[in-house]
Symmetry: C2
Subunit: 389 residues, 2 copies
């Protein structure tokens, strides 16, 4: 199978020869392909570093946001009510979202899955079904996420441990100070399980200011103590965008030393971490969708090319190399953090790619054109935004 006249990121046209689901050769452009891409841009698959497959209400009737206040705690309570009233299983809505993100070109994702005293492992079981269903098409990494806290939601630590035993890949966490009011207690519980099970950690951190920074530094310390360097991430880390540059720079050095990555979705109402400063200090950065039409947010569609645009827009990035930076957060850099090593458009690599009408990566990010084709292992997975496989 030969995809002719593909424009690669370097701007040149090549034919992509595919055999056995892999890229067998990158040849000079010709008119002899099985499918002529006519100079359309070929991108590596999009990677979503932070999604909530179990939360989405995609495919259900519109549900107005129910939160009675603007705090994280208010939204947790609102979601508990929405969950209790649900009649459609999370496996169904989660599958709706997976189909939608596949159609937009995402082939690898990290999904947090709620675990608390109300749910037990129900959502995990539902999302494990989704993972099973799509196992040949997309990578779904699962974080056991204590959405209601660890200490204030009785029995959650034991549930998190059980979740790893049943197939979750990483331990999650949530604002140790802001939600549990006990930094050491929260981190003790999470890192003990992570260390014993030998898995990574990805902690939601919304807390701002010095309290947020203290938690970031504590997570860096725990990461080193547990020998989990390069296996830990902090999602959101709004605090980094809420403190003076000097404080952010010192914290960045700690993150880089400890091998702790930072995930941003380009928040609308919260401070954006200083992405350039973090990168200059050697911190690994990756992107994610976060909420997609759920009890937390009416927004989101799971399109990681649009997410790269949103992150760039919030960062006031305008130059091509800046747009390439957020594109990297939604592709290669996220793949690295997720440990997806079989990745990228190269001879010998997987024949996984996304085709768009754009001249350059920067244009693809800015314009977020419709995905003409999504190809997985050399086979057509989606065309013009619709799954065909």
């Amino acid at each position: 199978m030969r995809f002719a006249n593909a424009r690669l990121a370097d701007g040149r046209r090549h034919d992509i020869e595919v055999a056995g689901g892999r890229i067998a050769a990158l040849l000079p452009a010709s008119n002899e392909g099985d499918l002529d891409l006519d100079g359309a841009l070929v991108l590596p698959p999009l990677v979503d570093g932070h999604i909530h497959l179990d939360k989405t209400l995609l495919g259900l009737p519109w549900l107005p946001n129910q939160a009675t206040g603007g705090r994280v705690a208010d939204r947790i309570e609102a979601e508990r009510r929405v969950r209790a009233a649900r009649t459609v299983p999370e496996s169904e809505t989660g599958a709706n979202l997976v189909r939608q993100v596949m159609a937009s070109g995402t082939l690898h994702m990290r999904s947090h899955v709620d675990i608390d005293d109300q749910l037990g492992l129900r959502n995990l079981h539902e999302i494990l079904k989704v993972r099973q269903l799509f196992q040949d098409l997309v990578t779904i990494q699962i974080v056991a996420f204590p959405q209601s806290g660890v200490l204030r939601s009785p029995g959650t630590a034991a549930l998190l441990d059980a979740a790893i035993a049943e197939g979750a890949d990483l331990l999650g966490g949530l604002d140790p100070i802001g939600i549990d009011g006990d930094l050491d207690g929260h981190l003790d519980a999470i890192f003990a399980i992570a260390e014993r099970r030998g898995v990574g950690v990805d902690i939601h951190l919304h807390d701002l200011g010095e309290a947020g920074i203290a938690q970031i530094n504590a997570i860096a310390g725990r990461t080193e103590a547990a020998g989990l360097q390069d296996k830990v991430a902090i999602s959101h880390a709004f605090a980094l965008g809420s403190v003076p540059t000097g404080v952010a720079a010192r914290t960045a050095d700690r993150l880089a030393e400890a091998g702790v990555a930072i995930m941003s979705h380009g928040p609308g109402g919260a401070p954006l971490p200083p992405l350039k400063l973090l990168r200059e200090h050697g911190v690994r950065l990756f992107g994610g969708s976060d909420n997609v039409r759920d009890a937390w947010s009416p927004f989101g569609n799971g399109d990681m090319l649009e997410r790269a645009m949103t992150i760039a827009y919030r960062a006031n990035f305008r130059h091509d190399q800046e747009l390439a930076f957020t594109f990297d957060m939604a592709t290669r850099a996220a793949a690295d953090v997720l440990g997806i090593t079989d990745y990228g458009i190269a001879v010998g690599g997987p024949a996984d790619f996304v085709v768009v009408e754009a001249e350059t990566l920067a244009e693809a990010v800015a314009a977020r054109p419709r995905r003409k084709l999504v190809v997985k292992a050399g086979r057509l997975l989606a065309r013009d935004g619709v799954v065909v496989a």
Copy 2:
């Protein structure tokens, strides 16, 4: 002509009977229409309160952003270089943008048009051609915009006056302190022309902090002195989002008293004015696209439904009534500021509307679905995002 099974904003289904380009009746839903909308949501036309038809590079090869720094002044200089190198007239790219925004459902817009010592009235003449070309389809209001300043760009005041004589509708302005370094001098020049010509004013204001607030208060004072209440707007007004709430509240009272409206595009990197506070204090708010793929910004597509989403996202709005508020900024409220009185879906009103797959206004804002139909004076103008007229 009868459009059957239209869902209106109140959630109910109606048939829309059209005659002579106007809505002759709203009837009970039936199966007897000429076109069955099958319960799709019918929205009033989108209104863009701030676009730059002459700046866009839409339809040209991708041009990386050229600005060498992040200040407004750096971007002005970069644009002067891009302009000087252009070979395609602004009327062509401007028409590309008008077609694109029509396809997304915008039927009324206010375009700023650059006027300075380099350009003279060239861009005005080009955009007057665009207005002529689309005169039966869309309203294009033109602001004579001194993009390089008034005092620091020799001869600009006389050019602005000539622009009004040749068909521009309003006087523009730009950071009287930040760009011209002379608050009174800048406002003297603009308001003298506005008063003499009897036209409104719409001033770009990026300056932050107390300097920005001083300029807002000065504009409010000038508005009253010139008797231009309800004919003046300030675009961006980032300063309102950069000062303590008490200062913003006092400034809001001045704006409301003087009848000065505020335009926001939901900036990515600059502070968002406190929209709820402004509304509570009686300030008229409206939305606009601002830059669309031009020398200032690689982003933007002119879709005002997406813009309503962007404003809501930046404001951290999540509830349905909040999304309806930003929808209003992109429709009715913007029409009011632009003085478009023949507007809205009602018996006797113009048969202008936009059809989308959504259950509610809030869903339309959050999901920004493709425009199934755009109807102008009862005739199909665009279908599925493509102009057909």
